[in-house]
């Protein structure tokens, strides 16, 4: 009886999932594909593929995304492992600050990056003093990579550290008492155990970096043009929306290919570690002399703590700059040099638009985030049960909204919502934002689920717990931290989103991101740093409360340490 309910429930959820996926992801994509066809059908594709700048920019984009993803992976891994040996309080504080930095919309932090990378920024000053030369990173490859790293490192750290739990530290301790060296422990225990999460982290950073629009636009200085910017250039400046759609489909296909390959690779990595890797590990550990152990430990710690410092600077420095810029009296982006001014605070506080927008945004983003987490949970569950091919397809679908440039997705949604008369409604924005937030929610939940042990539920089932009880009191409880992280990031994805909102919100729905966008495009200056500072303070309050509650509960584990 129980199993029948179970299969019925599963079929029902499968149906709901399929329906939601069609509505939220596949339908707008189909519209975009239809839109990209001309006469003859592939005319725009032929033109896109024949344009030399397209391939140049796709190559440049791949280079930026690869560099960013590799750096995020290395830094993220070092940070996550270093935090493993840190005190619980420090670890919790670090995670919270890292996560909550994302509370400040990227458009605001991007401006701080403009200042940091610019002529008067700390990097140029420091290099000027030390090496007597200019180091203006604005408009350079490394400027874009650093900005993207700032935006994406928190996600990488969270995805990776979600996999670091007590089982891992226990296993490491056991291995150490059995005489395994640090290199051996890392290669034989840590790496295999973290492999799926590492792939996930690489995937999410690569895909978001490759689809980046705001960061290269703000700090690229026009010289670092990335693929999605080219879509915008075709669409908005050359006014060739169909050519833009064709280019977007080409980019989407390439990125989906990367997603599918990486998802397949991740499915592979959850299986036992290939013997070749083990053999290599053995060789490596042979190479390390036993007497060198303490050197390896010290070296590892040195690397780990420097990664911690570098990561913290990359994530936090722009936030401090946001705070400082908000006090700049002149309408330009620079640190205040002579006097501090509260004129921008007076302006923002006195503007009713900001307050109204805050209320609307909260409503829409909470709904969109919740919807997105539900979808992501169902997708992750099916991805876990499906075979390798099925998992790749589900991952590709769930990642699609991150892969398709927003302006093209916006056109797809626009056509659909016009058809059903929903343009300008909050529901339209909520649905589109739920889709936009799906990739990050899916990644966080699926990487948590991939380590979830269904044995708990089997035990509960044998003790007579029904499916709903099992879901509520076991699965959801054990996965609660992952759900919290997914919910937060899904909320933030909607909170920050501009392009879809621009198309779908119509005239009555004003959101904070839209307000920021309209301010940013017309007058770059400290005004935006004010709501940024407010959000920063709000996030600090949230962090303080969370730490306090965490301290009271006396739980030693930080975010993601769900397997207690």
């Amino acid at each position: 009886m129980g199993s029948m309910v179970d299969t019925l429930g599963q079929r029902l959820t499968a149906l709901i999932l399929a329906g939601a996926a069609v509505l939220a992801v596949i339908m707008p994509l189909i519209e975009v594909v239809r839109y990209s066809f001309g006469e003859p059908p592939f005319a725009f594709y032929a033109e896109v593929l024949a344009r030399p700048e397209v391939w140049r920019i796709i190559g440049a984009t791949a280079q930026v995304a690869l560099t960013t993803a590799a750096l995020a992976l290395l830094l993220g891994l070092a940070i996550a492992l270093t935090l493993l040996s840190a005190t619980p309080g420090l670890r919790r504080a670090f995670y919270l600050v890292f996560i909550l930095s994302s509370f400040v919309p990227f458009i605001v932090r991007g401006y701080a990056c403009v200042v940091i990378l610019g002529a008067a920024g700390p990097i140029n000053r420091l290099v000027g003093v030390l090496a007597q030369r200019d180091a203006i990173l604005l408009g350079t490859f490394w400027g874009v990579v650093l900005t993207l790293l700032h935006a994406l490192l928190p996600i990488a750290v969270i995805v990776i550290s979600a996999a670091i739990d007590k089982t891992l530290s226990h296993n490491l301790r056991v291995a150490a008492t059995l005489g395994a060296g640090p290199g051996q422990r890392f290669l034989n225990i840590t790496l295999p155990r973290l492999a799926p999460s590492l792939v996930s982290a690489f995937l999410v950073v690569f895909v978001i970096a490759a689809g980046a629009f705001v960061a290269p636009a703000m700090v690229g200085g026009g010289r670092q043009t990335l693929a999605v910017q080219l879509v915008y250039i075709y669409h908005t400046h050359l006014m060739q929306p169909r050519l833009a759609a064709a280019l977007a489909i080409v980019i989407t296909c390439l990125l989906l290919l990367v997603v599918a390959v990486l998802a397949w690779f991740r499915a592979l990595s959850t299986r036992p570690v290939p013997s070749g890797l083990l053999a290599a590990a053995a060789v490596f550990s042979q190479l390390a002399p036993a007497s060198g152990n303490w050197i390896a430990v010290a070296g590892g710690m040195a690397i780990g703590y420097s990664a911690l410092v570098v990561g913290t600077v990359i994530v936090l420095l722009p936030l401090l700059y946001v705070l400082a810029i908000s006090l700049q009296p002149l309408p330009m982006l620079a640190l205040p040099s002579e006097e501090l001014s509260l004129r921008w605070y007076a302006r923002v506080v006195g503007d009713r638009d900001w307050r109204d927008a805050a209320v609307t945004t909260l409503r829409i983003s909470l709904l969109a985030g919740a919807m997105s987490v539900c979808l992501a949970a169902i997708a992750a569950e099916f991805g876990r049960r499906a075979g390798r091919v099925g998992a790749s397809i589900i991952a590709a679908l769930a990642m699609a909204p991150a892969v398709v440039p927003a302006i093209v997705l916006a056109i797809g949604y626009y056509v659909i919502f016009v058809r059903v008369g929903m343009i300008g409604s909050g529901t339209a924005v909520v649905i589109a934002h739920a889709a936009i937030a799906l990739p990050v929610a899916y990644l966080l939940l699926s990487s948590a689920l991939s380590r979830y042990d269904p044995g708990h539920e089997e035990v509960a089932s044998s003790l007579g717990a029904g499916p709903i009880r099992r879901l509520l009191s076991i699965r959801l409880r054990l996965l609660a931290p992952a759900f919290a992280a997914a919910g937060l990031f899904a909320f933030l994805a909607s909170f920050e989103e501009v392009v879809l909102a621009l198309f779908l919100a119509g005239m009555d729905i004003r959101m904070i991101a839209l307000k920021m966008w309209s301010v940013a495009t017309q007058s770059i200056g400290p005004e935006l740093a004010v709501p940024g500072t407010f959000l920063l303070c709000a996030s600090l309050v949230v962090a303080a409360i969370a730490l306090h509650i965490g301290g009271l509960a006396g739980r030693g584990d930080g975010i993601g340490h769900q397997t207690r």
Binding site: G139, L238, M239, Q240, M507, S523, I524
Partner: protein, 361 residues
């Protein structure tokens, strides 16, 4: 009435006639007034424009006084313009009036059918004294501005023509250009390369890009994503010299930012407003454009934003101490070269294409 009281009965009757006639007249007048009221402006108007300082000025100087005077309920949306083409093409109501677009953008949109053509707009422009090159049934050009040489810092030596702007030896430093459009940048390059102002059009795009190649090989050239971005790069010293919008430089200098600029060889053009296809209130829309063309309104906008009035009456209404800072003053106009907006209206996409190819090289 005093007279009536002292009259005989017959004259009372006569007087009564007058009273009746008077009352009738009053009634008639009221009715006419009512029918005028019905005929007068009413309803709602949705205006789409940019945000930031331009949006604030537009709201305070044009939108709110117009609404107070006419009773039309006006909503100003500052999220121009990415979604408007999609909206109009799919038959949705995109708003009534789009404000603050440059001539090239207006021509482009009008060519794509996004604006309602209405001869009343030409009459408006003629009546207000807008220069005749800007007569067009789909737009009203309310403001003039120029692309000018600008520099960071108030004591940086300022190039006095485009040849000097391209001269890295005499004027060393980073340059910033607009990325989103080649308008004015190509003209500046050609003038710097020795092309005479009256031989600019049709533009020799290859020659201009070659000149820009030379600039790019000699010094760092940055490209701004938006006019605001350009001002910021110049004000913060990230760039030393720019081809900048005169109104932005006017506003920046007024705000106390460390920038200078000059109208020497400035490339002048205009911006203005158009009535969107699918408008629900065309009469109020035309009335709003007429309001925006009033000399006092134009002058107030100019003093606030640095966008010069497009009419002589408007320029005259600007306070004398500010007049010379505007591109349409006699003093600054002498050295300027007008951009050929018709050329840009026709060749925007082909030249834009070459520009994108060059930018991404």
């Amino acid at each position: 009435m005093m007279n009536c009281r002292s009259q005989t009965e017959s004259s009372m009757n006569f007087c009564r006639h007058w009273i009746v006639a008077g009352l009738t007249a009053v009634a008639l007048a009221t009715m006419t007034a009512q029918s005028f009221a019905e005929d007068a402006l009413s309803g709602e108007l949705v205006v789409i424009g940019f945000g930031g300082s331009y949006g604030d000025a537009m709201r305070e100087i044009v939108i709110e006084p117009f609404a107070a005077e006419t009773g039309v309920e006006v909503r100003y949306l500052d999220t121009c313009c990415a979604s408007i083409p999609t909206a109009i093409e799919s038959g949705q109501f995109a708003g009534d009036v789009a404000v603050g677009l440059d001539v090239g953008g207006l021509l482009n949109w009008s060519g794509r059918g996004y604006f309602m053509a209405d001869e009343r707009l030409v009459d408006l422009a003629k009546g207000a004294g807008v220069p005749d090159i800007y007569y067009h049934p789909a737009m009203v050009i309310t403001n003039l501005y120029a692309y000018v040489v600008a520099a960071h810092g108030t004591d940086t030596p300022l190039p006095t023509n485009w040849a000097e702007f391209f001269d890295i030896e005499s004027f060393p430093g980073t340059r910033v250009l607009m990325r989103t459009s080649p308008v004015a940048t190509l003209e500046a390059a050609l003038l710097a390369d020795g092309v005479a102002p009256d031989a600019l059009y049709p533009l020799d795009v290859n020659r201009a890009l070659k000149k820009l190649d030379a600039l790019r090989s000699e010094t760092q050239v940055l490209f701004a994503e938006s006019p605001a971005d350009l001002v910021n790069m110049l004000a913060t010293g990230t760039a030393d010299y720019a081809i900048a919008y005169s109104n932005r430089m006017f506003a920046a200098a007024k705000d106390g930012l460390p920038v200078t600029f000059s109208y020497d060889q400035g490339l002048s053009t205009g911006n203005g407003h158009g009535i969107l296809t699918g408008t629900r209130n065309p009469r109020a829309a035309v009335a709003l454009l007429a309001f925006a063309l009033r000399p006092d309104v134009l002058a107030a906008m100019a003093e606030r934003t640095g966008l010069s009035p497009s009419t002589a009456a408007g320029v005259d209404a600007v306070r004398p101490e500010m007049r010379d800072l505007l591109p349409a003053s006699e003093k600054s106009q002498a050295s300027q070269i007008p951009l050929n907006t018709n050329y840009w209206g026709e060749h925007r996409s082909s030249v834009g294409d070459a520009w994108v190819q060059w930018l991404t090289r």
